[in-house]
């Protein structure tokens, strides 16, 4: 069963599969755009110290063939074969990246994923969509990295500058003076750079036509063999690998393909777009494809419709169709196993696995290795299911957090009381449901946790969500928030306080135990004590019908009140297994 990764998730490869001969498939598609997908083999300091480990269409394999480019197949835009145990020692990280070839930006991406297939079975998948990006032109999708053992991390980090920026980031050089057709083996980076500019314009002309197809097959362009150092655009799709001995693998992928198709197709635009946008949805690409000039503009507007089309008042759908797997579940299902390998395994068995890890090395450092801080350059990083790290340094934007939720911080962080302007409103009418916030600003990292509750980062991208005030742990100050009261008989204090968040940023929601996410149907009820959050487009009403029922319980005090939710399909509610 494929494990769904979210941005920032990590896992040991050995927890995913016992094999080291892996197939990595990348699928990314956007109307009228084509992508270059490459793999950087980086050293311990995350530098591309050896050009021969920059695997791209022009250099389809590393010297010892531990990393090979296989081309488009089985529904993947690009695929690689990685044999981890043959990767030389100096290579500590394999970073898979996608760059837009030509004009365009990542927000136009309709959908994409990076997946790992081993032994004919998909074991991991990190799906993303253009909604997570803006003007970036390159994106780091996922990394294999060596930290004692090989691990996989879903990165999803964009770069504005495209391939050059990526190369720079990895310490590669974009040597302009070097003639383009340099020997591909020795000077991969240089040979790459010039075409980036040179080839960009032409890239439009030609590939547009084939590009429309990219959705799944993505192998439209006839690929000149990897030799010519010039052509950027065409080869991207296919690049027939000269050496592709991975026959077993191939067989495997094709097997996997059907299973992979439905999710790919089901996720974002396709299902939604057709109805409201019947035409454009279906033919998005052709029109744009022809004219590079237009491509930009419509391109930008294009992605939203599919998602938004259906219910303008419910911006969630795009996020949420997936989110089922995206922000929230992030917290739930996987991390248990994802973050800390020991965690996920069934109770009885684990002694085997985590155990063997611990006694291996002696000493404090070795024993605590698996609890190390997870390094990522992101603003919000989930350390484990109960701990979140905020890096204030990344954007210097303060956050608001519940008082007392800070367990540790590093750096120059200032904490200040968040004034009554907000708190006062929350306090409401002396209900005792007081919410004390603190403002964390400055530079540094803050670790937040509270009472061992499960934490779930929810990334809002212009959408809105309502969270029961008791379940808010922290949020970006940039988010607009307002407090709403839901009144009803029997609610302790007379009302339930709910915070509605809107805008772009992250909210950390805490739940006692592993929550359940339910779609809103005409008959969705939740106990007002157990409900955690719901999409803002769903309407919460105090349900009298259920109130009667609750009165019918033997010994009922009549205090339990249920909320009924109404909303268009696509809305959801989150309920925790715990009544406050």
């Amino acid at each position: 069963m494929a494990r769904e990764f979210q941005r920032g998730h990590k896992a040991k490869i050995s927890d995913l599969t016992a094999g080291t001969d892996l197939y990595v498939g990348v699928q990314i598609s956007a109307p009228g755009l084509s992508f270059d997908i490459s793999c950087f083999g980086l050293d311990a300091s995350e530098r591309l110290s050896d050009d021969r480990y920059f695997i791209f269409f022009n250099q389809p394999k590393s010297p010892e063939e531990s990393i090979q480019l296989l081309g488009a197949q089985a529904g993947d835009t690009e695929s690689f074969r990685v044999t981890l145990d043959r990767v030389p020692q100096q290579i500590q990280r394999l970073s898979f990246t996608a760059t837009i070839d030509g004009a365009g930006q990542m927000s136009q991406v309709a959908s994409g994923y990076i997946r790992i297939v081993a032994g004919g079975e998909e074991v991991a998948r990190y799906a993303f969509s253009g909604a997570e990006f803006s003007t970036e032109r390159a994106v780091m999708l996922g990394d294999f990295y060596l930290k004692d053992v090989w691990r996989f991390a879903a990165i999803g980090q964009g770069f504005d500058g495209g391939l050059e920026a990526l190369l720079k980031n990895f310490g590669g050089e974009v040597a302009e003076e070097e003639p383009a057709p340099a020997p591909p083996q020795s000077a991969a980076a240089p040979s790459f750079a010039p075409p980036a500019q040179a080839a960009a314009p032409p890239a439009f002309g030609a590939p547009v036509a084939p590009a429309p197809a990219p959705a799944q097959p993505a192998a439209p362009a006839p690929a000149p063999a990897p030799a010519p150092a010039q052509h950027f655009a065409p080869p991207q799709g296919a690049t027939p690998p000269p050496a592709t001995p991975a026959d077993p693998m191939h067989a495997a992928q094709t097997v996997v393909a059907p299973m992979n198709q439905p999710p790919g197709a089901a996720v974002p635009p396709p299902p939604q777009a057709p109805s409201p946008y019947g035409q454009p949805g279906a033919q998005q690409q052709p029109p744009f494809g022809q004219m590079p000039g237009q491509q930009q503009a419509p391109g930008q507007t294009a992605p939203p419709p599919p998602g938004y089309g259906q219910q303008p008042q419910a911006p969630m759908p795009p996020g949420y169709g997936q989110p089922q797997g995206v922000p929230m579940p992030a917290g739930y299902g996987q991390p248990q196993g994802g973050q800390f390998p020991g965690q996920g395994a069934p109770q009885g068995v684990p002694q085997g696995a985590p155990q063997s890890a611990a006694p291996q090395g002696a000493g404090v450092a070795a024993a605590l290795q698996k609890y190390r801080e997870a390094p990522t350059g992101q603003r919000w990083t989930q350390q484990n299911e109960k701990l979140i790290r905020v890096d204030l340094g990344v954007s210097e934007q303060p956050i608001l957090a519940r008082q007392g939720s800070m367990v540790l911080y590093q750096g120059k962080v200032e904490f200040s009381y968040k004034g009554a302007g907000f708190a006062g409103r929350v306090v409401g009418n002396a209900t005792g449901q007081e919410m004390q916030l603190m403002r964390c600003s400055g530079r540094g990292q803050v670790f937040l946790a509270e009472e061992g509750t499960h934490l779930h980062p929810i990334e809002l991208q212009g959408d809105a969500i309502c969270v029961s005030a008791e379940n808010v742990l922290a949020f970006d100050e940039t988010l607009q928030h307002e407090v709403r009261r839901i009144e009803g008989h029997g609610i302790p204090g007379g009302a339930l306080f709910v915070m509605q968040f809107q805008g772009t940023g992250t909210v950390i929601v805490k739940t006692h135990g592993v929550p359940v996410v339910l779609p809103v149907t005409p008959t969705t009820f939740a106990d007002c004590h157990a409900v955690v959050a719901w999409s803002a487009a769903a309407q919460a009403i105090v349900s009298s019908q259920v109130r009667m029922r609750s009165n019918a319980y033997a010994g009922s005090t009549g205090e339990s009140v249920n909320l009924q939710f109404r909303g268009a399909p696509g809305n959801f509610i989150v309920v925790q297994p715990y009544e406050v």
Partner: protein, 226 residues
């Protein structure tokens, strides 16, 4: 029935201390290799294990720790398998192998009697004396089991010039070579931390690690039970 439960059978003994699941530790006891464990932490044992609460040796070392009711440690000796747990807290097993570690008193579950250990008061944190913020410095060759409410996290302290500040309620352990200082809430009116509204952090500087639990609940359950 047996089949479903078979997965929970103990694994063969490989080392002195091992996790059984996340919340329990299994100690292979041998005569002559005694163990100090928190009083009340034993959940099961197999074989011939004897317990001596408040042994004289501990009384000697932990004189300061005691607040009248005796040190919360018992000496376990004998042969067999001993299972320890602390109300469902995660257990972290460490083979010290010559390293040393300072552990918050309430987060210490068990350790080999052969280790060097001592109770010390956190400097500048006299305030906490009554609340049990005692830490125990352990070093030598042997095993230690710590408890953590939730999966702990280990943070490198020596990164950058900035100090690391920790909520004392969430602190589990740290490298003894770190410089520790107490810090009062920084800005007037900012109430961070929990409890009585007193806001303290412990600041660490230097090279080393700090281990923190994702919960500020440092209630000593073993002791509370009496």
């Amino acid at each position: 029935m047996n089949q479903q439960l078979a997965g929970f059978a103990p694994a063969p003994v490989a080392t002195r201390m091992e996790n059984h699941g996340h919340h329990m530790v299994k100690v292979a006891m041998q005569t002559g290799n005694d163990l100090y464990a928190r009083v009340g932490s034993m959940v099961a044992y197999e074989g011939f294990v004897q317990y001596e609460p408040n042994p004289p040796a501990v009384r000697q070392v932990a004189r300061e720790w005691m607040t009248g009711e005796g040190a919360p440690l018992m000496k376990c000796s004998g042969d067999g398998l001993l299972y320890l747990a602390d109300y469902g807290a995660d257990v972290v097993v460490i083979n010290l192998a010559g390293d040393s570690l300072s552990v918050n008193g309430t987060n210490l579950l068990a350790f080999d009697a052969s280790l060097q250990w001592g109770v010390e008061r956190v400097k500048g944190m006299a305030k906490f004396a009554g609340q049990g913020l005692w830490n125990i410095k352990i070093s030598g060759q042997g095993w230690v089991a710590l408890t953590s409410r939730g999966t702990p996290i280990v943070v490198d302290c020596g990164r950058g010039e900035d100090e690391t500040y920790v909520d004392p309620d969430a602190l589990i352990a740290w490298s003894p070579n770190l410089k520790v200082k107490g810090k009062r809430s920084f800005k007037a009116g900012s109430l961070i931390g929990r409890g009585s509204g007193e806001a303290y952090q412990m600041g660490f500087s230097g090279e080393g690690i700090v281990v923190v639990q994702p919960s500020e609940d440092s209630t000593d359950r073993l002791r509370a039970r009496g």
